[in-house]
């Protein structure tokens, strides 16, 4: 029981990170119908930017942790957004209107380019960050006689889950209620008509990449703080899992991405907790395959009946 609860907490934490990344996949797919394979690497770049800012702050002797966290978050979101924006500008926009596979190929190219760039500038080895946020709340006391383990909800986990919930709520409201969100949905449904109503479609697409990258940056910061080590390859695995989450939830659907992220995080954690750590990635990929075969439009991506 205790073990189960602990796994549940861990799974939700991991799922939050996947969910934040998955939003970037789903939004870009929604608006231009392509899988931005470089998105996982944008997340990785975000984590490295966060690490750099952390180390600078520690080096110049800033000690107030909330201040450090705030600055790291803001700077990481800002710079990562620029990367996301640049990727769209350089690799995708010039190919708009060409055959469908073209941007997919440049996306893979961009992914490799970003990985190699970080590998060259940051080195191939893992980079550690000294633990910043320690401790937590003990939910259940261990008991040596019954063999029950201690169930802990760490402060880091609380931060990750709360941040994710706040960001996703804010984000959903933005898409549902604001003029910008409406313009995005309009570009998603009919870009030609959106432009006939005065919407700058290219700019709206750029903004979508920027938003996705900013959320990926937050995920990057969380990942860095949670695991304490990063390398240039984290974007690939996390990216594929977040992508799986987006597909599972129904690609193009925001709540779907969140739900899918949570599901993948839980499955992965429980799989490693009860079966084997080695096969946890296989579990995630199997889900991708099974979803694509039996539920191609995902959990929440029901194609609706429409007259056009």
């Amino acid at each position: 029981m205790e073990y189960f609860v602990q796994q549940l907490i861990n799974g939700v934490t991991l799922g939050s990170i996947y969910g934040l990344i998955a939003i970037g996949y789903t939004m870009v797919y929604g608006i231009i119908g392509m899988i931005n394979f470089a998105h996982g690497d944008i997340f990785m770049v975000g984590a490295f930017i966060a690490l750099t800012v952390f180390l600078i702050m520690l080096a110049i002797g800033v000690t107030a942790l909330p201040l450090i966290l705030l600055i790291v978050l803001i700077v990481a979101m800002l710079f990562t957004s620029v990367w996301g924006w640049a990727v769209e500008r350089i690799a995708y926009r010039p190919l708009r209107g060409s055959f469908r596979l073209a941007p997919l190929i440049t996306a893979i190219g961009m992914s490799i380019a970003l990985q190699n760039f970080v590998q060259l500038t940051q080195g191939a080895r893992v980079k550690p960050l000294p633990p910043q946020i320690q401790g937590g709340v003990t939910l259940m006391q261990g008991d040596a006689e019954t063999g029950a383990i201690v169930v802990q909800l760490s402060y880091m986990q609380i931060i990750i889950i709360v941040t994710t919930v706040v960001l996703m709520t804010a984000f959903s409201l933005l898409i549902a209620k604001t003029e910008l969100g409406r313009a995005q949905r309009a570009c998603e449904q009919d870009p030609k008509m959106a432009s006939l109503l005065g919407v700058n479609v290219d700019r709206t697409i750029s903004l979508t990449f920027v938003m996705g990258a900013a959320l990926a940056a937050v995920a990057g910061v969380m990942f860095l703080l949670y695991y304490g080590v990063i390398d240039f390859y984290i974007g690939f695995l996390a990216g594929v899992k977040a992508f799986t989450a987006a597909v599972l939830g129904g690609i193009g659907s925001l709540p779907g991405a969140m739900l899918g992220g949570l599901a993948i995080g839980l499955i992965e954690t429980f799989w490693s907790g009860y079966f084997s750590v080695e096969y946890k990635d296989v579990a995630a990929f199997s889900i991708l395959a099974i979803t694509l075969i039996f539920l191609p439009s995902g959990l929440l991506g029901k194609p609706e009946v429409e007259k056009v």
């Binding site: 409406r182 313009a183 309009a186 432009s195 109503l197 005065g198 919407v199 700058n200 056009v308």
Partner: protein
Amino acid sequence: MSGPVPLLYTRGVETYYGNIIALRGVDIAVFEGEIVTLIGANGAGKSTLMMTICGNPQARTGQIVFDGEDITHLPTHDIMSRSIAQSPEGRRIFPRMTVMENLQMGAMISKNGTFEEDLNRVFDLFPRLKERQHQRGGTLSGGEQQMLAIARALMSRPRLLLLDEPSLGLAPMVVKQIFQVIHELNRSEGLTVFLVEQNAFHALRLAHRGYVMVNGKITMTGTGAELLARPEVRAAYLEGGRQEAAQ
């Protein structure tokens, strides 16, 4: 009725789709306060002209001038923020947005805080839309969608309204209602309308002037009454429409 300088005119506009020419040097003029109609057979290039005015596709040669400004090479969203609105061919309602959201999209470029007023105006014109304001666009009937397309175009308070086949696929009663609304807007507010129609009989009776397009070229022009009287026009475009109107 007609001012000295047209609100909109085109000079020698040629538009291509790839290497295929669709408009072969089109000259038209629309004066402030006029209803001008463009009639022609399927594939003549009517919708192409409407879209070329809006910059998608752009004219390869020639010139398009709106309100004294050359808009030929502006991007679509810039053109549309200059008080031109189009209700395009096929209506193009956003299917997964509510009626209200579709109307909000129409008001995107109007920044003068007149949303409530404009909303009440289009709800007065089309009370049906008010009843259905929370329904998703994709689930409206064809006629309701057409009303929404026109209402959406009106939300930005355009000086020039481009309407591409507003009567397509609608019951005669609804066609009548829509033509009535166009007439009313023009008469009471002086709205300038450029109207593409298959339903030539109705269109020519409604419009002050008309153009006939054949194969990407303007072949005839005149007042609505003049064109209605021309035997070529009657033979090519009117017989069907007249029968329908006679019913």
